[in-house]
């Protein structure tokens, strides 16, 4: 059941129309033909029977007197007249008592065994013959029975003829309807084809300006109209889309231009900043140094001439100059970070920390220790040196305990290493915890911090943040300070992962 359906479903629309028309025509013709044929068959049988009964009645009438007078010769002649009708197979005259009086058999037929006398009103149709029996009446009195048997070739000939004619008509009708369908199908297929072609062109070429001609006001006309309206909308939408696309491209070009301009501006600004840093480092420092030297010589060479107050003022002057010198150096250092970036590499913090400790050479009463082994991180080496030196030198500088302890420890998780540097120094009041990382803040806010330029911790914060990490401080006044910062761990290669064991 499935196959014919699928088959039909996949036929072209034109073939479907033709097939449906043809199917309906054939069905109608068959029904009509068969009905006509059935009616014809019934009619023919009836006609044949009537004809045979009439014939039997005529023979019976004529033969009645011959039976009464026992004129066998006449009766035989009468029956032989039936030979005119070639369809009559046999005819028999029975006497009233049932004896056979006279008979006729078609010449080329073998002798048929005569049946026993039938009832006077017999009508019997068998597939091979039709037999009737009628009374022989004389003055309305039955004197015998006439029996006639006829073959059915008349019917079968008629059937054959009928079938022939029907088939011819059928064929003619089929051809006619085929031609008609073929001739008429453009009425439907024309608009459908126009729609199909238009839809395909739109799909393949993306040409939304195409329109379908609306030729009728039927369903297909409505479809064409709707299709056209749909195309209108698509065209509008496409136009809008391409307009906004155009705008977007324009916008992007603008942005690129802006980025270029800004980048150029930034490069200029960056260059200017570098030049500025350079100028500051030389042109501001040189006079300061000069002032310092001159103040030194004045205090040395003219010592006897200077009063105590004069010497004190010169000393103050030199102190201010020295601090300003340090400040300029600090600004330079701070501004250079990020401006000149080294290649990030695998840096062994264990080595960096050890070197920093050795370089700082802490006094006897301060012990700096490293807990465990510090990790490898991905960083700029010089910056890491600055980072450790700054934090450690701060811790050493401010250490106020007779037994100073500074401990460096680390913990790595998910490729992020947290480094902790703890000291048991004076600690930092909580209100300064954020300020210490701001440039110059230490100088202004922390009275004990006379030697510091206030650059150190802001430098440390800048270094950590440039490496994508964070820095925090935990501290309790009198107990000590803990600096915690994060750095990206160097990713171990497979070989290293296999050989290194935890802890």
């Amino acid at each position: 059941m499935r196959w014919p359906l699928t088959f039909f479903r996949d036929l072209s629309f034109r073939t479907k129309i033709v097939a449906i028309c043809m199917g309906v025509s054939v069905f109608t013709l068959l029904i009509g033909g068969l009905s006509l044929f059935a009616i014809d068959l019934v009619n023919m049988r009836e006609t044949l029977r009537t004809k045979l009964i009439t014939q039997a009645d005529i023979i019976g009438q004529s033969a009645a007197s011959s039976i009464v007078f026992y004129d066998l010769d006449f009766a035989s002649r009468l029956l032989s007249t039936l030979a005119v009708n070639t369809h009559i197979l046999s005819a028999i005259l029975y006497l009233q008592d049932g004896t056979l009086f006279a008979s006729y058999t078609k010449p080329d037929m073998a002798d048929v065994k005569p049946p026993a006398m039938p009832a006077a009103d017999l009508t019997n149709l068998t597939p091979l013959y039709l037999e009737v029996a009628r009374p022989c009446l004389l003055h309305n009195e039955q004197v015998g029975v006439i029996y006639i048997r006829s073959d059915l070739t008349e019917i079968s000939q008629r059937i054959r003829f009928s079938i022939l004619i029907s088939s011819a008509v059928f064929l003619a009708a089929i051809v006619a309807s085929l031609v008609l369908t073929w001739w008429l199908q453009p009425l439907i297929m024309g608009p459908v084809n126009a729609l199909t072609t238009a839809a395909r062109d739109v799909a393949e070429k993306g040409d939304y300006t195409l329109r379908v001609e609306q030729v009728s006001h039927d369903d297909l006309g409505v479809l064409a109209n709707t299709f056209n309206r749909m195309l209108d909308q698509i065209q509008q939408a496409t136009t809008k889309l391409s307009n906004s696309e155009q705008k977007l491209i324009e916008h992007r070009k603008n942005l690129e231009r802006q980025v270029k301009t800004r980048t150029a501006d930034l490069e200029v600004a960056n260059q200017e900043l570098q030049d500025f840093a350079y100028i500051v480092s030389h042109d501001l420092k040189a006079p300061l140094r000069g002032i310092n030297q001159l103040a030194t010589w004045i205090s040395e060479d003219y010592e006897p001439l200077l009063a105590e107050e004069g010497r004190r003022q010169l000393a103050l002057m030199r102190e201010r100059v020295t601090r300003m010198y340090a400040l300029i150096d600090g600004i330079l250092l701070y501004s250079r970070i990020g401006q000149f970036q080294e290649q990030r590499q695998e840096v062994d913090l264990q080595v960096i920390a050890t070197d920093a400790i050795n370089m700082l050479a802490p006094p006897e009463h301060i012990r700096i220790s490293i807990e465990g082994t510090l990790p490898f991180v991905l960083a700029e080496k010089v910056r890491m040196q600055q980072l450790f030196q700054n934090i450690l030198s701060n811790a050493i500088k401010f250490m106020d305990k007779p037994q100073g302890r500074i401990v460096i420890s680390s913990k790595c998780e998910n490729h992020i290493c947290t480094i902790t540097i703890t000291d048991n120094g004076p600690g930092i009041e909580e209100k300064y915890h954020q300020k210490i990382f701001q440039i110059f803040q230490t100088l202004n806010t922390m009275p004990q911090n006379k030697d510091s330029t206030g650059i150190g911790l802001s430098l440390v914060k800048r270094i950590v943040e440039l490496h994508g990490g964070t820095i925090n401080v935990h501290s309790k006044v009198g107990e000590g300070t803990e600096f915690i910062f994060t750095l990206e761990q160097k990713r171990l290669s497979n070989a290293q992962q296999q050989t290194s064991s935890p802890g």
């Binding site: 350079y278 480092s281 040189a286 300061l288 000069g290 030297q293 030194t296 010589w297 100059v321 020295t322």
Partner: protein, 142 residues
């Protein structure tokens, strides 16, 4: 220093020049100190055939007219002058200045200390080193 040959100081800052001169005096260095204020004058002086070649040049980098770097380029191009050792004596801690100077074959790169006591230490170190160090054969310096 060797044979009491002169030391050439190329320095445009008067006080810095005074500081070097004072340090020489305080340290009892007997080599004559010739001071010029820029690279151009230094080259003229070095190319003066009558003048004796210095055993050492102390060179500031930041100078008007001809900077220390430009002076170094010219000096190292001159076959008769390029064997004279040059110690850069500057305020610049810039990476590019250090790199440039060493690329141009300087013998040392020293930052000017802000404090005179440090300054005097630096000069003492330079003096001690160049007193100990053998200089290039005389004929090469000619």
């Amino acid at each position: 220093m060797h044979n009491n040959k002169p030391v050439l100081l190329v320095e445009d800052d008067t006080v810095d020049a005074m500081t070097v001169r004072r340090a020489f005096k305080d340290l009892g260095i007997n080599n004559p100190l010739h001071h010029v204020t820029n690279g151009e004058i230094a080259l003229i002086r070095l190319r003066d055939l009558k003048a004796e070649h210095p055993c050492l040049i102390l060179l500031d980098l930041n100078m008007s007219r001809m900077s220390g770097t430009e002076f170094l380029v010219a000096l190292k191009k001159d076959p008769s002058l390029r064997k004279i050792p040059v110690v850069v004596f500057t305020t610049s801690d810039e990476e590019r200045d250090r790199r440039n100077s060493f690329n141009l074959g300087v013998a040392g790169y020293i930052l000017k200390p802000v404090d005179y006591s440090h300054f005097i230490e630096v000069i003492r170190t330079i003096y001690t080193y160049w007193n100990l160090s053998k200089i290039a054969p005389t004929e090469l310096l000619k």
